[in-house]
Each structure stands twice: as structure tokens, then as C-alpha cells.
């Protein structure tokens, strides 16, 4: 739980996410249904990546009679591998799935050394 300005805890939903690793970096795919580009906040600070997706209110007014979907915003924090070039992180969201691409810095990528 993360306290807000009033120092009260705020509840969040932890999005389900997959992480892929390749030689040139990592890819995170996180499920945030109902979140569009405008409702996203992504920050990198102090070696941590924070993803936050705000849910939009429904575009209709009706009584909720059965609930499984929790109403809270999505939030998750990842500690970044030091090999990641934080200046080259990019993100997109399609159909409620956030994709964050985290490339490794050029200096740490594996390379082949040719023998003279």
C-alpha cells in the first residue's frame, strides 16, 4: 500500500504481467483492461520503473448488481537491471495490454570479438 497526500493507504490492483528477456533487453507486457494511452503514467526513478494505469468511470449510469472487477487503479513497480539503458525505455498500450520495452545499454550487449 502506498500512502497518498493525506497519508492514507491507497489500494491498487497489481496487473498480471509477463516478462521476456533477450540479448538486447527486456519486454514487460502488463494487463490493464480499460486503460487507454491517456490514463497511463510511467516513471523511472532511482533504478525503479513504476507503471500506473487509471481506470475510467463507466460511460453509463446503472446499478452494479454483481462485481468481480475491482475498481482500483493498476500499479506495479519493478526494480531495473543496471544493464538497462533508462534513456531508451519505450512504452505503448493496445487493447488494454501495456508493452514496455527496456533495451540494454550498448556497452553490456554481448558481442563477438574477432581474433586478429
Amino acid at each position: 500500500m502506498v500512502p497518498n497526500e493525506d497519508n492514507r493507504p491507497v489500494a491498487y490492483v497489481t496487473p498480471l504481467a509477463d516478462i521476456e528477456s533477450a540479448d538486447d533487453g527486456y519486454v514487460i507486457r502488463a494487463e490493464m483492461p480499460g486503460v487507454g494511452k491517456g490514463e497511463l503514467e510511467i516513471t523511472v526513478d532511482n533504478g525503479e520503473l513504476m507503471i500506473l494505469g487509471h481506470r475510467k468511470p463507466t460511460d453509463f449510469t446503472a446499478e452494479l448488481i454483481y462485481r468481480e472487477i475491482r475498481p482500483h487503479d493498476f500499479r506495479r513497480v519493478y526494480e531495473l537491471d543496471p544493464s538497462i539503458d533508462t534513456t531508451k525505455i519505450s512504452a505503448k498500450i493496445d487493447d488494454g495490454v501495456l508493452t514496455v520495452t527496456l533495451p540494454k545499454a550498448e556497452t553490456v550487449k554481448p558481442r563477438k570479438i574477432s581474433v586478429q
Binding site: L16, D18, G34, A62, E68, D95, G96
Partner: protein, 154 residues
Amino acid sequence: MNIVRYLRYPQSDLSAALDRITSMRAEMDRMYDPTFGSSFRSPASLSGWNPAVNVYQDKDRFIVVAELPGLKKEEIEISLHDDTLALSGERKREGSSEQGLLTERYYGKYQRSVALPTAVDPDKVTATYKDGLLQVVLPKAEEAKPKQIEVALK
């Protein structure tokens, strides 16, 4: 007893643990609630996954909202049979599973059905899909709508 959706919270901090207890309680409350408990729960196959849904109503219609992130419109099948709405399809994995460091998302076939409390008009059902949320609007059948009855006072 029906098989219920398995709720998985990967983060093991305090808030997630509390959430899990809350959701287990809600699940138990639903199981013992004779009005909604079994009517909304559908038997699901052991393989596959079941998307979460919310159900809303006003005097004219029901609105079912389902969380289906990462699908294309063509990957969502919607049907209505005896006032039970059924959603099904299959989610394919993006990227390759060989590079997966961590897999929490569900892939493969999904299905979900929602038994509606009253009759709906099958010809007037509409659905929209945006940002991974499916919204199905089911107008109530004329005979199921609440009616105002005039009582004359003598």
C-alpha cells in the same frame, strides 16, 4: 459445486494479501448467497481461463462488462441462449515463450457465461470492445420490465 475463477495475485506484499482475503470472503459470500451465487457462476472447463465480469442493470437493460485484455475483436465470440450470455475465444501469446522470464498472464481458450436474472430481448443485444474491455448491452424483454400499477383509492 461450481468451479470458480482462480484469482491470482503475484505480488506478495501486505496489500495483495489483504486483497486476497477480501476477495476470498466475497467469493464465499457469493457461494452462500442463494439469489446470485449459482445463477451467475457457470461450470468452467478445467483447462482455460475465465475473464472477470461486472453486471449492471437499470430499468430497461443489463450491461455486462468483461475484462478481455490483449484480444482482437475477431477473437471474441458472444452468444445468448436461454437468457444466459456466453463469452468464449482464445488468446494467443505475443512474442516467444522461450524468452519468458516470468509468465503470469493466461493464454489459450477462455469461456465465461452469465445467467441473467430476467428475460432479455435477444434481437437487441449490442456489444463494444475498447481498451481490453468488452461491454455487452442486453435490453430487458418487455414482460420483464418493472411496471407501474395504478391503484385507485376509493
